[in-house]
Point group: C2
Chain length 401, copies 2
């Protein structure tokens, strides 16, 4: 067959599944080989016992011991058909372009966990919409499983608001923040995407089965691991890179100290995606990880709600978060002299123009002109020649502290 067929045909699909089974998804060596020689040739080379890297040799040998990778792949594809899942590869129109940015991720390749950071060779998908349609305008919301009521509340608000504005919410399938992220968007009647670290036919945890079914109504379950795959702990770390890469930005709402959310954010910033963190009470263990990220990673942005989230992920000038306004905002309209004069007016009682001129350090003429303007603006009240703050604007001394 010609190389062209080789990279798009059935053989290529089988080879990609087999290679993902031979080494963990994202394996740097395997991905590099596939990029240059294609999946079929790479599988042929590895099956022939030709290994460019020793750690890969160990993995492949141990897995090939009593299994034929090609047969494993065909078994996986058959099972996928039975459970209504499909395989998506870069050759498919719906392949999410975002994940290919992982090719640029430069990490400490001596750390085994960082050797599995290359783009997926293929994705297993359940759900009707084309993957790229849902992910091309998406935001990830992730965080602690042991979330607090505060975290659930903030997550649901953010997720609902983002979904309402046609952002696809992406998360894992865990209890806590992940679940709240899906529920918020679903409540807005918008689809979500759950990226799993196990087979899409048996999403983990089983306690979220009904939630996964609601996700499947209009959304997607995605995984790099074939149907039937177990949710092994290290797979969550490998999975996290896909969530980081497939979305415009990632929001961490609650995270314990040194949790996986911290690791995810490392990927997010390394990929130049937008890393957003919601602060919380310093008395809450579930916000320790968030505050740690804000203290230690200069790229992470503190967000307090939807407007700021939209501000961060929207195109420049697209969404502008309204600056929070204090009780003083009516004063912003005043020129500097009027503002200072207004502040010279005693909080309790009233003062005459001469006293005000003295305490504000202005000429009597200026004071009298300003006072009539302030009176017209309804900020001060005149009572027999003396002036006091108008009721709405009234604040006691020290209000400015």
């Amino acid at each position: 067959m010609t190389p062209a067929e080789d990279r798009t045909g059935a053989e290529d699909r089988v080879a990609r599944v087999a290679l993902t089974w031979l080494a963990e998804p994202g394996n740097r060596t395997v991905w590099t080989m596939v990029q240059s020689a294609g999946a079929v040739a790479t599988l042929r080379q590895l099956s022939a016992g030709d290994f460019p890297e020793s750690s890969l040799r160990a993995a492949v040998i141990s897995r090939c011991a009593d299994h034929d990778p090609r047969r494993e792949a065909e078994r996986a594809l058959a099972r996928a058909e039975r459970v209504g899942a499909r395989l998506v590869t870069p050759a498919d129109a719906e392949w999410p372009a975002g994940v290919d940015v992982l090719a640029t991720l430069e990490l400490d390749s001596r750390r085994q966990i960082d050797r599995n950071t290359r783009p997926p060779l293929c994705l297993w998908v359940r759900g009707d919409p084309p993957v790229d349609h849902l992910l091309h305008r998406s935001v990830a919301i992730v965080g602690a499983r042991a979330a607090t009521g505060y975290g659930i509340h903030v997550t649901t608000d953010l997720s609902y608001g983002l979904a309402e504005r046609d952002w696809t919410v992406v998360s894992g399938g865990a209890f806590g923040i992940d679940s709240a992220a899906h529920r918020g968007a679903l409540a807005a009647g918008r689809p979500t995407v759950a990226v799993l670290a196990c087979g899409v036919d048996r999403p983990y945890p089983a306690g979220n089965t009904s939630l996964f079914e609601r996700v499947l109504d209009d959304g997607l379950l995605i995984s790099e691991w074939p149907p039937g795959a177990e949710p092994l702990r290290h797979r969550f770390l490998i999975r996290n890179r896909v969530i980081a890469a497939a979305t415009r930005g990632t929001i961490v709402v609650e995270a314990a100290a040194r949790s996986g959310a911290t690791q995810t954010m490392g990927r997010v910033t390394a990929l130049n995606r937008i890393a957003m963190v919601v602060p919380g009470p310093v008395t809450s263990a579930m916000s320790v990880g968030c505050h740690q990220l804000l203290r230690e990673s200069p790229q992470t942005r503190l967000i307090t709600g939807l407007p700021e989230a939209l501000d961060e992920i929207g195109r420049i000038g697209d969404h502008l978060a309204p600056r929070p306004r204090g009780p003083e905002h009516r004063r912003d309209l005043l020129d500097e002299d009027s503002a200072v004069l207004l502040e010279a007016i005693p909080a309790r009682g009233a003062a005459g123009p001469e006293e005000l001129a003295a305490s504000a350090g202005m000429s009597l003429r200026t004071v009298l002109r300003r006072l009539s303007l302030l009176e017209a603006a309804g900020l001060v009240e005149r009572r027999d020649g003396r002036f006091s703050l108008a009721r709405p604007g009234r604040t006691a001394p020290g209000a400015d502290r």
Copy 2:
């Protein structure tokens, strides 16, 4: 008299009080004149109607209309003696050197409020300790008057801890965060300093009278305004610069949007003092100003408690805040292979060495060697040839999220 006497004698003291009465404390023009010609000569020049700046002319004329500045000053000194307050000038040994850094503050001098940012000409003080003794190692804690239970709790903790470590806590005299700052330090049996925007003989607010008395037991009340002075609103903004300058750093615990705490922090960072902000629930109006500072001012540091506060204000390497540790910290001691292997062990049930070699992508030999080490470390348990996570380390899949 000789210039030397001129700058230290009784005449100089009277002149400084008179000048502070003629223009608001911190007035740039007056301070500059005093620096070059001395206070006595400056007062003589202004009284003679010789004004280098028009806005100053207006102030002085309006105030001199029916008062003699020198007599006002003598009256203030007499009243101070009656109420047990003393005047402190740069000529006194106890003058707090920190405030002189205000000479370097460069702000928008077209804004009237920024014209009053120069060092004080003199300070009115009540309380026994020398001012410099208490302020040379001090931290300011300020924030909202309408503080929440959360803010009061965090403030009291911080203040108590800082006081215990011999840091003098400095604040204003307002309700809410200011009061909690004083109470926390007093509870630790340490003195505090209240910097007021009114006369030290009639501290505002009256509702804090008993607190001010406790402050006076071992600490100080300080003000730039003479005994009897009213707490006019704009004076709090002028006062804030002294709190910022006199301390090593300032902590804002709770602040409403665009509150005076924000303005104070502008001064703190402009003076290269340490600006620290405590985050809070994004659902709390009293944390909006804090989050605003953290979002908009890159110099402000997020702190979550005493260790981080000490870390920021302490000399480098003096206090090192312990990095928050997650449940994974025992794993930190492991080499990369062992860590990955540990993560390959299923959360529920057990697995044999071959399976682990396959899922972790390692040779069987490596796996067997690591497993015995992990077992010895008490991280995994062996039961008839299969391995499971040891109880203490046990966490369900996704725990790393």
